[in-house]
C-alpha cells in the first residue's frame, strides 16, 4: 500500500505576515486517485496547492513524493517531481499559439522545433480525448479551450500529479462533463489528481476522497462514498447551515423595465447584443444565464446607459410618477437617479465600481459626491453609510478607513453590493455578486437580493452557478452570443435545459460562419 502513495504532506504550515494561511495540514494522495480539496474562500486551499506547485514555500512541514522527502522551491522544482498545476486564472500568453504556450519555459534537447512540438500536443490530446488546434492563438480561444491548453501543458511536461484550481467555475454543465470524462481517463492512466472546488455535487460525483480545510486548518479527510452534502458542509463551515434559499412567490408584479429589440455593436464592430427583448418585473428576480462573455455585461451596461445602443428601446415605468421613460435618451447619471442601479463584479472584482486604493468611506462617496453643496467634501454621511454596511453585512475590516484593496474578495463584494442597495433602488442589477465568495457570504448576498425583491424591487441577477440561478430566481433568461435563446420558469426547469440553451446559438453561429 505504501508504495502506491504519490504525494504526502505532513504538518504543512504557512503564514503571510501575521495571518495563518495553512496550519498543520496533512494529505495523502495515491496513484490513480482523485482527491477533492474543499473549503470556503480564504480557507487556504489555493495557498496549500501553491506550496506543492512551488509558488510559495512552506514555513513548516514536509512534503514526500513517492516516499522521498523533497523541497519544492520553485515551479521548476515542481515540474521536476512531476507536479503540474492548472491555475484558476489561466497563465497563458494571449498572442502565442497553443503549442508556443505549452512549450514555454521548457528546456528540451535538440533544436527549437514548433512542428514537432505540435505533433506531440496532438498526440496527447488524442490520447485523453481533448479537442484542440495546436496552432490556434490563445486570444481566439474560448474559456474551455484555454483550460484544455493548460491541462495539456502540464501533461506535456510529463506531470503525474495534477492540481486543478476550481476548474469548473468558468465552464458550462456540458463542458464540465467533458472535463470530468478527461479527468477520469487520466485517473485510469495512473495519474493522481487534486481538484479544488467548492461545488459539493462535483466533489461527490468525481472524487475518491475529500479533504476539508477551514480557515487554514485541516479538518480531515473522508472517503467520498461514505459522506454526503450535509456532512461536508458542516465540516467546511464548522456549523450546520441550511443550503436552501428561501424563495417567496413574486408579489404585486408590474412591468418595471421593458426592453424591446435591443441591438448593440461594440467598438470593434462586432455585434454584442442581437435583438434583445424582455421584461423585468418588480418584486421578481430575473436571472440571466449564459457562457461568460455572451453579452451579459453589455446588456446591463446598455440599461445603465454605459453602452452605446444602436437600435431598440428600454422603457422604464416610473412607480413614483407613473410615467414611462425611455432610458435610451438619458445619461448614466439620470438613469441612476431614476433608481436603476448596477452593481457589477468583474473577474478581478475591482475593475468596476470601487477604487482599490481608496478607503471604504471614500468609495461610498464615489456615488454621492455630486450631492455635496459646499466646497469641501462632506464625509459624515458616507461614513455613516460605510459603518452601516460594515455592521449589517458583517464586513471584516480593521476599520472604515482601510483601503479596499486590503480586504478579501468577499468583503469587497459586500461593500459593492451594499452600496448599491443602500440607495433604495427600483431596479437592481447584480452581475456575479457572489463571484469567488464562500458559501456563508454567498448566502448573505442571496438573502439581500431576496429582501430587495420583497420590497418590490425589480432584481436582475447575472450568475454563473446554474444551481443557484434555478433556486434563487423566478424566471431565467438565457443568453447566447448576444441573443436571447430562451426565457424559462426557474421553478420548472433543469440545469441541462439551461445548459443546452446556453450553447444553442453559439453552435448555430459557428455553422453559419463556416
Amino acid at each position: 500500500m505504501t508504495n502506491n502513495v504519490a504525494i504526502e504532506l505532513k504538518n504543512i504550515s504557512k503564514s503571510f505576515g501575521g495571518n495563518m494561511a495553512n496550519k498543520n495540514v496533512n494529505l495523502i494522495v495515491n496513484r490513480g486517485e482523485i482527491l477533492s480539496i474543499l473549503g470556503e474562500n480564504g480557507s487556504g486551499k489555493t495557498t496549500l496547492m501553491n506550496m506543492i506547485a512551488g509558488i510559495y514555500f512552506p514555513d513548516e512541514g514536509e512534503i514526500f513524493i513517492n516516499g522521498q522527502e523533497v523541497s519544492i522551491r520553485s515551479p521548476k522544482d515542481a515540474f521536476k517531481y512531476g507536479i503540474g498545476m492548472i491555475h484558476q486564472h489561466f497563465k497563458l500568453i494571449d498572442v502565442f499559439s497553443a503549442t508556443e504556450n505549452i512549450i514555454l519555459g521548457l528546456k528540451e534537447k535538440g533544436r527549437y522545433n514548433l512542428k514537432a512540438a505540435s505533433m506531440r500536443v496532438k498526440e496527447i490530446s488524442d490520447k485523453y480525448g481533448f479537442d484542440i488546434d495546436p496552432m490556434k492563438k490563445i486570444h481566439e480561444m474560448s474559456v474551455s479551450e484555454k483550460q484544455t491548453v493548460e491541462i495539456i501543458k502540464v501533461l506535456y511536461r510529463g506531470a503525474d500529479i495534477l492540481i486543478l484550481d476550481e476548474p469548473t467555475a468558468v465552464l458550462t454543465p456540458q463542458e464540465t462533463q467533458k472535463l470530468f470524462a478527461v479527468i477520469r481517463k487520466m485517473k485510469e492512466d495512473g495519474k493522481s489528481i487534486i481538484i479544488i472546488t467548492h461545488k459539493l455535487h462535483e466533489v461527490l460525483s468525481l472524487s475518491d476522497k475529500v479533504a476539508v480545510l477551514r480557515k487554514g486548518e485541516y479538518v480531515g479527510t473522508v472517503e467520498t462514498a461514505n459522506t454526503n452534502e450535509a456532512e461536508l458542509t458542516e465540516m467546511m463551515v464548522g456549523k450546520k447551515i441550511s443550503l436552501n434559499i428561501e424563495r417567496s412567490e413574486p408579489q404585486s408584479c408590474e412591468d418595471r423595465l421593458v426592453v424591446k429589440g435591443l441591438n448593440c455593436i461594440n467598438r470593434e464592430g462586432k455585434k454584442v447584443l442581437n435583438d434583445i427583448s424582455f421584461v423585468a418585473r418588480s418584486g421578481e428576480i430575473l436571472g440571466i444565464a449564459g457562457i461568460a462573455g455572451s453579452g451579459q455585461r453589455e446588456l446591463l451596461e446598455a440599461i445603465a446607459g454605459l453602452q452605446h445602443i444602436n437600435d431598440g428601446e428600454i422603457l422604464y415605468n416610473n412607480p413614483k410618477t407613473n410615467t414611462c421613460d425611455n432610458l435610451r435618451d438619458k445619461t448614466p447619471l439620470q438613469i441612476r437617479d431614476l433608481g436603476v442601479r448596477l452593481s457589477f463584479v468583474p473577474e478581478d472584482r475591482l475593475g468596476m465600481g470601487l477604487v482599490a486604493n481608496m478607503d471604504i468611506v471614500e468609495n461610498m462617496m464615489l456615488r454621492s459626491y455630486h450631492k455635496g453643496k459646499s466646497l469641501f467634501l462632506e464625509r459624515k454621511a458616507p461614513k455613516d453609510l460605510a459603518l452601516h454596511i460594515i455592521e449589517d453585512l458583517e464586513v471584516v475590516t480593521p476599520n472604515e478607513n482601510t483601503p479596499v484593496r486590503r480586504l478579501s474578495g468577499g468583503n469587497i463584494q459586500k461593500i459593492l453590493v451594499g452600496r448599491e442597495i443602500a440607495s433604495a433602488p427600483t431596479v437592481l442589477m447584480a452581475a456575479y455578486p457572489v463571484r469567488g465568495l464562500d458559501i456563508g457570504a454567498s448566502y448573505t448576498i442571496y438573502n439581500l437580493l431576496n429582501s430587495q425583491k420583497k420590497k418590490g424591487v425589480a432584481v436582475i441577477f447575472v450568475g454563473e452557478d446554474l444551481d443557484v440561478l434555478i433556486e434563487l430566481c423566478d424566471r431565467i433568461l438565457v443568453i447566447g452570443s448576444g441573443s436571447i435563446t430562451g426565457i424559462v420558469d426557474a421553478r420548472n426547469t433543469t440545469k441541462e435545459e439551461i445548459g443546452l440553451l446556453m450553447t444553442k446559438t453559439v453552435s448555430n453561429d459557428e455553422k453559419e460562419g463556416e
Binding site: 500568453i93 508556443e100 486570444h139
Partner: protein
C-alpha cells in the same frame, strides 16, 4: 538624388541600432526611455577609447583595432547603462519611466562633458569607420547605394536580422517575449524573469550605444559638436513605427532617415520650415500608432506588460 539615398541609408542604419536595441529591451517588458542617454554614454565611451588609442598609437594605428576598440568600449558603456537601469527598476523597484528619463538626462550630461574634454579629434578615427567595402567602386550606382558604406552600417543590418531570428525562431526568443507579455505566466513556467529582463536590457542598451557611435563616427564624420539625444527619441519612435519587428525596422529606419534629412535636399526653404520637416518621423509614428490601435490587431501591439514592474510575491 543619389547622395540623398546614400545619406538616408547611413542615417537610417544609425537609427536601426537604437531601435533594435530598444526592441530587445521592450520585448522583455522594460520601457527604457533612457535610450537617448544610453546612446550618449555609448558614444562617449567609444569616442574616448578611440581618442586614447589614437593618441597612444599615433601613426602606427591598426585599422582593425581602431574600429574594434571603440566598438567594444561602446558596447561596454551601453551595457553598463542597461545594467544601471535594470538594477534600479528590477532590484530596487523604481518606476521605469522616471528612471529612464533620469538616465537620459545623465547621459546627455556625460556626453556634453566628453565633447569639451576631448574636442573634435574623432575625425581622425572617423575615416576608419567610413571606409567603404573594397568592391564598391566596381558596381556603379548599385555599389554606391549598397556597398559604399562603412562597416557599422552592415553590422546594424546583421544585428537586426539576427535579433529578428532569435525573437521568432528560438526558445530564448519565445521565453523573452513571454516575459514581456506576461511575467507572471513566464515565472510560473519556470523562466527567470529577472534574469531575462536584466540580460535583454543590457544587451539592448549595448546595441543602442552603437547607434551613438555610428552617428558620430559615420554620419557626422567625427564632427561631434552637439548632443545626439534627439536621435535617441527617434529610435524609440521607430520601434513603435515598426510595431516591434526588427526586420521591418530595416526598411523603417531608412524611411526615417530619409524623412529626417529630406529638408536639406529641398532648395529654397527657410530654416523654420526645415525644423517642421524634421518633425515628419514623429508625425508618421503617431499615424501608425493610431492605425494599429484602431485596427486592434493582436499581432501589432506592444508587449502587454511593457513598462510594468513584476514582483512575484505581490498579490
Amino acid at each position: 538624388m543619389l547622395a540623398f539615398l546614400i545619406s538616408a541609408i547611413r542615417l537610417g542604419m544609425t537609427f536601426l541600432f537604437g531601435s533594435t536595441g530598444e526592441t530587445i529591451t521592450e520585448k522583455s517588458g522594460h520601457l527604457n526611455l533612457g535610450i537617448p542617454g544610453v546612446m550618449c554614454v555609448g558614444a562617449s565611451c567609444g569616442c574616448y577609447a578611440e581618442y586614447l588609442y589614437l593618441s597612444e598609437a599615433r601613426m602606427n594605428a591598426s585599422p582593425i583595432l581602431a574600429i574594434l576598440i571603440p566598438i567594444l568600449a561602446t558596447l561596454a558603456g551601453g551595457a553598463l547603462m542597461g545594467l544601471i537601469f535594470s538594477f534600479l527598476t528590477v532590484t530596487l523597484r523604481t518606476n521605469q519611466n522616471v528612471t529612464g528619463l533620469a538616465l537620459t538626462t545623465f547621459g546627455v550630461g556625460v556626453s556634453d562633458y566628453m565633447i569639451t574634454k576631448t574636442g573634435p579629434i574623432y575625425s581622425k578615427g572617423s575615416r576608419y569607420f567610413t571606409t567603404p567595402l573594397p568592391f564598391a567602386d566596381d558596381l556603379g550606382v548599385i555599389g554606391d547605394i549598397f556597398f559604399s558604406h562603412g562597416i557599422l552600417i552592415y553590422l546594424a543590418i546583421i544585428i537586426a536580422l539576427l535579433t529578428s531570428f532569435v525573437l521568432n525562431r528560438t526558445r530564448i526568443g519565445l521565453n523573452l517575449r513571454s516575459v514581456g507579455e506576461d511575467p507572471a505566466t513566464a515565472d510560473a513556467a519556470g523562466i527567470n524573469v529577472s534574469l531575462y529582463r536584466y540580460s535583454a536590457t543590457c544587451i539592448g542598451s549595448a546595441i543602442a550605444g552603437l547607434s551613438g557611435l555610428s552617428f558620430i563616427m559615420d554620419y557626422l564624420n567625427g564632427n561631434w559638436e552637439y548632443c545626439i539625444d534627439a536621435i535617441g527619441w527617434l529610435c524609440i519612435a521607430l520601434v513603435i513605427f515598426t510595431v516591434w519587428k526588427p526586420n521591418l525596422a530595416i526598411i523603417g529606419s531608412i524611411l526615417f532617415g530619409a524623412l529626417y534629412i529630406v529638408s536639406s535636399y529641398i532648395t529654397g526653404i527657410s530654416f523654420a520650415t526645415k525644423e517642421l520637416f524634421e518633425m515628419l518621423p514623429y508625425i508618421v509614428t503617431i499615424i501608425v500608432l493610431v492605425f494599429t490601435s484602431a485596427r486592434d490587431s493582436k499581432n501589432s501591439q506592444p508587449p502587454k506588460s511593457l513598462g510594468l514592474p513584476y514582483f512575484r510575491e505581490e498579490r
